[in-house]
């Protein structure tokens, strides 16, 4: 993968400089330095922008530079060319040269088409890796204000990239951006030694993991090469390119492999992924009785696939797997599965979540209580520390917007932690005290901040993360703050000034929380630690006949097991098959929402007998579990033995 960058002297117009670079000449028309129409980058406005190589390609053909147009026209021409950026995608195969990469096609304000997100984010990754990207073209319309990103028009990745630069608080992947921030070092950055590039870029493991499309992407990037690059630029490109090619790490190979498998309808994983995605998109999520149930089914699917992939040999085809790598493997697979499942499902899931909470009234309650709480004073809200001021609130809202747009629970978690950090900063500034703040101080400030914005999307986000995050991750810092956010939203949703001072938890609150608590506990203890014991052997048609090993976590429902069985046994008509529990020569049909592993564990404990699960045609005189026809979602006596 290769790309080129353009060095830029401070206060020179990048267009001129780009032209110099492009044409191998240093004769930029002096008029172009007029600031009014020039396109500038300043560290104040925080914009860091990249020349669109298409623009260069187009305009070098039109030799606009040679004609030394008045500067305004130049900028104007630039704007025209820039605007239909994505429309130009089809022009990007000029069949030009082989070498050299022109991946730096970012425009600060150009909005990619919605469907273009993946290629946009791919480009962004290139950007992130390159401190040499400082060659920058400001937006044509003056300095960009750090306005909150508008989700409809900005790709989330793009927005984060813009926003990240001025803050430079992000721990890992975005750090290289800081470099390009200083005007004075722009030129130097462009000439950074390759080694440094390398060291800066490898850190972005998360991006690596996301870069699953890299293999197919590379050729298409090559095609975008512009014919007008000088040999000097080409040289630099190939140096950078060779550094980048070293990044095809083991994680990436695993990630690629997962993506490949998921896209292959013939593979076990691909079949499951695709049928599941199709199922949910076709409204399969609506049949659930609660949002939690819906999300848990998705989480189960992820966990099942993850368990399967981590332990199957399918991933090992591509590479080495040491013992130490196993932890990494889990998180790489997890991230890849987010991409396979959650990326296509995100919008649908959110729509469903909103539906659920419109119906159960939570949305309205949040709105109402938010309005009430906004009117309260800080003292009434129990805030003792500093709170974010206007600009800080805006920045926080921008982050929350990004958080909302992201599909990966992990990415959301990162953003959530960033917001927490911003809150602590505001608290420290406001209070002017040196002692670190604990939960007594943090929670009220969080509540204050949340009610200043729109709490409903945050509620959906927190729920999404809570249920979809890797349960093993819930014990760490991310888990702690996620819990705190959940608590804050719970407090807002159930806010009742009159009963606020009561010592006792309402029965309803207690029940809700208890259920939730239990579920997470089970998830954590059983689902994660005992992964290898999750395998359930299922027979086909007759007990102990044609058994297959199916990964069935503790909380996987019989309905999900049936889906897996239908896949394994190649059943064309899954509706007429069911999962049966055979014990003491009786056979019971399990209801769709019962959990086979749970049943097995319970029966082992209570009776000490071994049981057999059989996947077979329904309606052969078996005893339904409840004595009544076992319907999907019907609670049976075997539903929850605990």
């Amino acid at each position: 993968m290769k790309f080129w960058t353009v060095p830029l002297k401070p206060r020179d117009t990048p267009l001129a400089m780009a032209a110099e670079e492009t044409m191998g000449s240093s004769a930029g028309p002096p008029e172009l330095q007029l600031p009014t129409c020039s396109i500038q980058v300043t560290s104040e406005d925080g914009a860091m922008c990249i020349i669109n190589p298409l623009f260069l390609a187009v305009h070098s053909d039109a030799d606009w530079l040679g004609h030394s147009l008045p500067p305004c026209q130049t900028a104007d021409a630039g704007r025209k060319a820039l605007r239909p950026r994505n429309g130009l995608e089809n022009l990007q195969e000029p069949g030009s040269t082989e070498e050299g990469e022109t991946g730096l096609q970012e425009l600060p304000k150009g909005a990619p088409r919605k469907g273009d997100v993946s290629s946009a984010s791919r480009r962004r990754r290139l950007l992130l890796r390159s401190p040499a990207q400082s060659a920058s073209v400001g937006p044509p319309d003056g300095p960009p204000s750090p306005e909150p990103p508008r989700p409809e028009t900005h790709s989330p990745h793009r927005a984060s990239w813009i926003e990240e630069a001025p803050e430079a608080t992000a721990p890992a992947p975005c750090h290289p951006l800081k470099k390009s921030h200083s005007e004075s070092s722009l030129l130097g950055d462009a000439l950074l030694p390759v080694m440094e590039l390398d060291s800066l870029s490898v850190s972005s493991v998360e991006d690596e993991a996301e870069a699953h499309t890299a293999a197919p992407a590379t050729p298409s990037h090559r095609k975008r090469h512009s014919a007008v690059l000088t040999s000097k630029v080409l040289h630099r490109i190939s140096a950078v390119g060779s550094a980048l090619s070293g990044l095809l790490s083991a994680e990436r190979r695993v990630s690629n492999r997962v993506q490949e498998l998921a896209q292959e309808p013939g593979s076990y994983v691909g079949g499951l992924v695709q049928s599941y995605v199709a199922h949910v998109l076709q409204g399969g999520a609506a049949r659930h009785t609660s949002s939690t149930e819906m999300l848990q089914e998705i989480r189960q699917t992820i966990s099942n696939l993850k368990g399967y992939l981590c332990e199957s040999s399918e991933l090992q085809a591509g590479g080495e797997q040491g013992d130490t790598e196993e932890m990494d493997l889990g998180s790489v697979v997890e991230a890849s599965l987010y991409k396979c499942l959650l990326k296509p499902l995100r919008d649908c899931v959110y729509a469903q979540l909103l539906d659920f909470h419109t119906q159960d009234g939570l949305q309205r309650r949040l709105h109402d209580h938010q309005a009430t709480m906004r009117k309260q004073s800080l003292a009434e809200l129990g805030v003792a520390a500093g709170v974010p001021d206007g600009p800080a609130l805006e920045r926080i809202q921008a982050k929350l917007g990004l958080l909302h747009q992201a599909y990966s629970p992990k990415k959301k978690e990162t953003l959530l932690l960033k917001v927490c950090k911003m809150l602590y900063e505001a608290m420290n500034q406001g209070a002017g005290r040196a002692e670190p703040f604990g939960a007594d101080d943090f929670l009220p400030v969080l509540i204050y901040t949340l009610v200043q914005g729109d709490v409903v999307p945050v509620q959906l986000d927190v729920e999404y993360m809570m249920e979809l995050m890797d349960p093993g991750q819930l014990q760490g810092e991310g888990g702690y703050y996620l819990t705190t956010w959940f608590g804050a939203l719970y407090h807002i949703g159930n806010y009742q000034p009159a009963t606020m001072v009561t010592r006792h938890i309402s029965i309803e609150a207690q029940r809700t929380i208890h259920q939730w608590q239990r579920r997470r506990t089970i998830h954590h203890r059983e689902g994660y630690r005992r992964r290898s014991q999750d395998i359930l052997y299922i027979s086909f048609q007759e007990p102990f006949a044609n058994q297959k090993a199916i990964p069935v976590p503790f909380h996987m429902t019989a309905a999900s097991v049936c889906v897996a069985c239908a896949e394994k046994y190649g059943i064309a008509d899954p509706a007429s098959y069911g999962l049966f529990l055979v014990m003491d020569s009786t056979s019971r049909l399990l209801s769709g929402d019962s959990c086979p592993q749970k049943l097995r564990a319970e029966l082992l404990r209570s009776r000490g007998t071994s049981v057999c699960f059989v996947y077979k045609l329904k309606g052969r005189g078996e005893l339904p579990a409840t004595g009544a026809p076992a319907l999907e979602n019907q609670r049976s006596t075997y539903n929850d033995p605990a």
Partner: protein, 215 residues
């Protein structure tokens, strides 16, 4: 069941107690061994971690602070879920805060049973002169509910190391008992082994309740 050296444990400990009893100072003192007078740190104290080595067993502690205000009482369960231990802090000069600890104990026992190791901590013993909760009352109460009682001063760094060390030892013990019980309880195959392969399309010979393949 493991009791050997080289084991590592991850425990979650939740800090409960009314606001202003010194939860935050206590845990900061432990994790940083710094008590705030003039010390400036960017570290926040809501969530802290600490690594320990106890007799060759590595312990990773994650300490979850909670908001102690009355209005947030209902949120307790989401914090103490999954906890291996709870530290219930009261201020020895504040009778009410001790009452509050009693409420927490009741709730924790009800929700989590005996799985959770409870520590009741009378903080601010540097203010012994203003004590309003009698030592005997507190210790008797702790014993009656199966909790251990500690006297600490975050300000003078008294009793804090002992508190956490003791708690860790108890949590290790509980975890090991739990493990053994589980090992006996489920008659099928013992430990989850790494690298057990799912044999995808090969028919299996064992019975469905049987153990992992011994390959």
């Amino acid at each position: 069941a493991g009791g050997g050296g080289g084991r590592s444990f991850s425990f979650k400990v939740v800090l409960l107690g009314e606001g202003c009893v010194g939860k935050t100072s206590l845990v900061l003192r432990y994790c940083e061994n710094k008590f705030n007078d003039k010390h400036i740190t960017t570290l926040q104290a809501s969530f802290l971690t600490k690594k320990l080595n106890i007799g060759g067993k590595r312990v990773n502690l994650a300490i979850w602070d909670t908001a102690g205000q009355e209005r947030f009482h209902a949120l307790g369960p989401i914090y103490y879920r999954d906890s291996n231990g709870a530290i219930l802090v009261y201020d020895i000069t504040d009778e009410d805060s001790f009452q509050k600890v009693k409420n927490w104990v009741k709730e924790l026992r009800k929700m989590l049973g005996n799985e959770i190791c409870l520590c009741i901590v009378g903080n601010k013993i540097d203010l012994e002169k203003e004590r309003h909760v009698s030592v005997q009352e507190a210790e008797t109460y702790a014993e009656s509910v199966g909790a251990k009682h500690y006297h600490t001063s975050a300000k003078q760094n008294k009793g804090i190391e002992e508190l956490f060390l003791d708690l860790c030892k108890r949590m290790i013990e509980t975890a090991q008992v739990d493990e053994r019980a589980r090992g006996n309880g489920s008659s099928q195959s013992g430990t989850a082994r790494r690298g057990v392969q799912i044999i995808d399309d090969e028919p299996q010979v064992q019975s469905s309740g049987g153990c992992c393949s011994s390959g």
